[in-house]
Symmetry: C2
């Protein structure tokens, strides 16, 4: 039996803090539960009352004649630990703490929360909350919440981290006739977290989708595991707020400072197959579409409309959301030409003109649904004097039953079209208020399909994971770890990269002037000299770098110059000589590849444009390791700089397979050594079609 | 009397094509007009009927006993020209043609439209349409449209280019209790266009705002003039679709190809003071706020909420829309600390917690409205069991009456909060469904304020406009015009720029090798040599450029090399020698400044990042000339590259005043010579804090 079974399917429920006072939480909990038609036994518990809502009230849980499956605690926070301890002792199998006044209010509350944690630890009793609204489960008629409305029955699960938002969502959902099987407010997630719930709901085959309002997560590893498993079966849709969290700025290194917290979430969602939407409205709208309509097989959308304006709006939305307007085949065009009114638009969007009735919509849908080049259709009705919103809705719903393609609708307006919307919704064709919304939802469906494709390729990851750590990398890093040194030198950092098959330009150490000249001759001119010292991290700042040296003479004078400059600027530094390396022509594309440590998700890989572009344009893309070559391709293509060397309009030649391999190998390195705090390849240069790590730095955890 | 007076205030209206057949346009027009309570005389005209809706019907307009102020034509398109001619002959003072089947259907329709144009030209009769829905004017109780609903009375004017959208908008507006004084469907704008309507409505002092749904415009000059004049008084809000028009790609030159049509619209709107919103929903929502609430004085927003989640969403929206969360003063914090519940959020957003009642909202508003550092407030209510949506609404509406600061609201949910929303709306506090919407509307209000600031500085433009064209520029360009040459050489292009005070690096011509060496010595090393030929535009492609020449020897050998290469690659080219110029170090910021010709707005100025960034990141900003220094600053700051040399985090020194001056002078040049097709300064380099046009090309119209 799943550990949440008793929580969500209790045969008896006690409410601690039950009350007859209207407006109080204890009253709402009692009346919601009784009104919902719950078929188990309810025990109000309150030492001050004899009965609540006419039901006999108990002084304490110990007095209740049976061990309850679920105890709901609604007492003031300061006595919650005591009450919960009593519940555990009385054998309550699961708990909901709705009371607020814990971690969210600061130090004092945090202490209470810790205490609560200690009490339930090891008891096997699961706890939802604190600071939550409770939950609603419609199929068992349990409304164990103090929400202002009950949920309509349905097949969706909703999990919200904001209790205050739950009532608003229920209010919206009712208006739009959206039902739920589970409606859960998670609160502070002291014990039960998103992962537990996703796992539990995953065992319920009736649930078609999970919609989540999220602000942050606890235990990213469990979350990712549970989400991946569920996503492979049914969609998870997340609206996460807190995009611009200032706290993400705290990261140290250059690459690090770019890896905004929210962008890591975005990468994690994608990897776990989760569809991220913008806001709570879209949460419900997308969940409906993902549950009711078949997934598109691509991003080519046909638009059928009875008005030009909304067709233009839909087109704008198609391009903005990175989908494409489907091209109609010659055959389809010929058929439409025959069947459409003489002044129809003659292209996609297919404008049936203002007087279009159900038959015309049917004919157009017939043609479009038979097209190989069409992955989905958005059908728009803009009310005109002669429009028949309900009849057209019926016709569209009928046609949409033919399996295979995604059909979404948009009936513009309010009262005049509401009934038509209703007909569509009841027939599993989600209907939206604006063309933009409908197209956006289509794009979310398409992104779920893409996520699934990647997710199903995860077997490649297992192969990646079984590879051994290169001996050379281990040896190099161990030397630093043993000595307690944090910053790995450029030469050694490059050795580590090389051992992972990442191409570097040849770089060697030279203690003295003569050795430097010799090494330069060996490597071949032009070369670069950099001062070599464990105490100097920013070499350019002390004048410790000389580029493009083309002769032995230049090498010699550069050696003297940079060593003496470095000594002058950093008199206490231990200068070991210089590093000599092959000069790589600056190339057209200057990139960066880095690893940083995210507070929530651990190691992340950052790829993007280097140089000025890194700072000014912030053109980067994030992935969670391990990264397969296929995932690497997606990461690369998300950056704008990739247009330079990839795709039809590429102006610079590049071995993209090599780049994908570099990123994939780098992701292994990012995972292989938990002792590493960050890695910076800056720049990674594209020169003559090949990629080279020209400067690199590994920093170990302190 | 304004030429549209009779159209919008007719004492008699004839409807040509009036009908008793339900569902027909002729029937809708008649019944709408009669049902609206029109107080003038209605004359149905239809040769086939004796009466329509019980009103005596006439065989032709000539039969009607008086000269009507307005004739509405609803006959099939092919007889419209004949009917309109009859109307003009019968002395109808104005016309609405609702019939479709003109320009929008192709060649055949275009011919009909041209004919229609010929018929009314010079008659003084004004025509609305064709292919429109007509108009509604609520104060005079005229519904001269075939829309499915009448408009509620109000003080807004709405103009829609999509007739099909009108009914949808009316349906939405009714649901939200939004009223209109004028509701106009413009159709194809054969005669009456946006400019006419804005001008006419501008004379009506009761109108608080104009909302426009636009797809394109005719006569940009008139439009800009009318819009500017109106904007100075009251806001114009536009939702324009067609953002990604493929046709904009047709532009020739590099700079040109970037100036997407829609971006020019954006620049034009800004210059005319127009607020651009994303979609039709926002159109109504923003128009309400702009009409009912005082404009903010800046972008600092305070958020008051009874729930954390929506507060986070609001914060996300604040940052995304480039506003700021207001910082509360010490005094305000102290007062809140005293008056708020003990666990309030202690920062902005001010979270009053779930059980907040009207008094708490009032107290928080009191504090925030008294703050100098707050420009506007968004008040959020998320329904909880104990919330009082109506009472809180009353309290907020009362406080919002205090003049000075913008107050907007967001009541989340549907049925539970609807009454509260109603209370707010009736009291001039616009109330939205989501925090994002409310914040976004605030940001639109703020952008209107900024637009006004610029618009009021237009006097500077008049000064700009009175300056004479430099003699040198005239002389240079005339030479080319006389010879019929299209491409002005780099040297001459730079002369033109120089005459407008735009700094260039010194560039001179040299016919032979010896002259080249001499000129190089004069200019000072290092220099650049480029092949000089009217037949070679892309010099790099023929190997015609040599950079960084540091000695006479290098200049001599470069001369031989590039001239012989050019001869080999372009044997037929007339090679005049080379241009010699000072080599400017590549610098940190490589920019472009260009002028191109927009199909709709004429000359536009494009500024942005150059080099790879121009193509990859598309980082540019567009302005309509003439451009004042103040406007230039806004244009510069819209590009990302400007962060490099401007603002607190600038890494490169720059004389920003100089850059603004360059753009302003360049905008004069862009206007001074209508014969110029395009100008490209590419690159404009920032070197040692100063800007230089390092390469330039002027192309004349062919």
């Amino acid at each position: 039996m799943h550990s949440l079974e008793k929580l969500f399917g209790p045969e008896s429920i006690a409410i601690l803090g039950a009350s007859n006072r209207k407006g109080s939480v204890g009253f709402s909990l009692m009346s919601n539960l009784v009104a919902s038609g719950y078929r188990g036994v309810v025990y109000p518990v309150n030492p001050k009352r004899k009965s609540v809502l006419g039901i006999r009230c108990y002084k304490s849980l110990a007095e209740v004649p049976e061990q309850v499956d679920l105890a709901i605690v609604a007492t003031p926070s300061f006595i919650v630990p005591k009450v919960v301890e009593e519940c555990v002792n009385a054998g309550a199998k699961s708990l909901i703490v709705v009371s607020s006044g814990f971690g969210e209010i600061g130090e004092e509350g945090r202490k209470l929360e810790l205490e609560l944690g200690r009490i339930i630890r090891g008891t096997g009793t699961r706890l939802l909350g604190p600071n939550c609204l409770g939950y609603i489960r419609t199929d068992k008629r349990i409304n164990a919440s103090f929400a202002i409305r009950n949920a309509l029955p349905g097949k969706m699960a909703l999990i919200s981290q904001s209790g205050a938002l739950c009532s608003g969502i229920l209010d919206w959902a009712q208006k739009q006739n959206v039902g739920f099987k589970y409606f859960i407010s998670v609160g502070s997630m002291l014990d039960i977290n998103f992962a537990d719930l996703i796992e539990f709901i995953g065992e319920d085959k009736e649930v078609e989708s999970i919609a989540i309002y999220m602000e942050s997560i606890k235990d990213s590893e469990e979350f990712m595991k549970a989400a991946k498993k569920f996503s492979l079966k049914s969609p998870i849709i997340v609206a996460k707020s807190g995009r611009f969290e200032e706290s993400a700025k705290a990261a140290v290194s250059h690459t690090g400072s770019m890896a905004g917290n929210d962008e890591v979430f975005e990468a994690a969602f994608e990897k776990a197959g989760i569809v991220r939407v913008e806001n709570v409205q879209e949460l419900l709208g997308s969940a409906q579409a993902l549950a009711k309509q078949p997934l598109p097989k691509g991003n080519r959308l046909a638009v059928i409309t009875n008005a030009g304006g909304p067709g233009v709006m839909a087109t704008d939305a198609v391009i903005r959301n990175k989908c494409r307007l489907a091209r109609l085949s010659k055959k389809a065009m010929e058929r439409l030409e025959k069947e459409m009114p003489s002044h129809w638009s003659r292209s996609n969007p297919i404008d049936l003109l203002g007087d279009a009735g159900p038959e015309l919509y049917e004919k157009a849908l017939n043609v479009v649904l038979g097209e190989k080049g069409v992955d989905g259709v958005v059908v728009i009705l803009s009310p005109q004097a002669i429009s028949k919103p309900v009849e057209v809705a019926r016709a569209v719903a009928e046609k949409a039953k033919k399996p295979g393609k995604t059909v979404l609708a948009c009936w513009l307006g309010e009262g005049f079209v509401e009934q038509g919307r209703e007909v569509l919704r009841k027939n599993c064709v989600p209907c939206y208020r604006t063309p933009e919304e409908a197209v956006r939802v289509f794009s979310y469906m398409e992104s779920y399909r893409k996520n699934l494709e990647i997710l199903r390729g995860e077997r490649d990851l297992e192969v990646l994971g079984t590879q051994k750590r290169p001996v050379k990398a281990k040896r190099v890093l161990n030397t630093y770890l043993k000595k307690g040194l944090k910053v790995v030198s450029e030469i050694d950092s490059k050795k580590v990269l090389e051992s992972y098959g990442i191409p570097v330009n040849r770089t060697v150490a030279a203690k003295g002037l003569r050795e430097a000249v010799e090494k330069a001759r060996e490597i071949g001119f032009p070369v670069v000299l950099k001062v070599l010292s464990p105490d100097i991290t920013h070499k350019t700042e002390v004048g410790g770098v000389a580029l493009n040296l083309i002769s032995e003479k230049e090498v010699a004078s550069a050696f003297r110059r940079i060593v003496s400059k470095a000594k002058r600027k950093k008199p206490k530094a231990n200068i070991l000589g210089v590093s000599v390396q092959k000069m790589v022509a600056r190339g057209k594309a200057e990139l960066i590849l880095g690893k940083k440590e995210d507070r929530i998700f651990g190691p992340v890989v950052v790829f993007g444009a280097g140089g000025i572009a890194a700072e000014v344009f912030g053109d980067k893309s994030i992935g969670l390791p391990p990264i397969t070559k296929k995932q690497a391709r997606r990461i690369v293509h998300k950056t704008k700089i990739s247009k330079l060397f990839s795709g039809r309009k590429a102006r610079v030649k590049a071995d993209l397979g090599e780049l994908e391999g570099i990123i994939s190998s780098f992701s292994r390195l990012a995972l292989d050594f938990p002792e590493v705090e960050e890695i910076d390849i800056n720049p990674l240069i594209l020169s003559n079609g090949k990629f080279f790590a020209v400067d690199a730095r590994i920093v170990l955890k302190g």
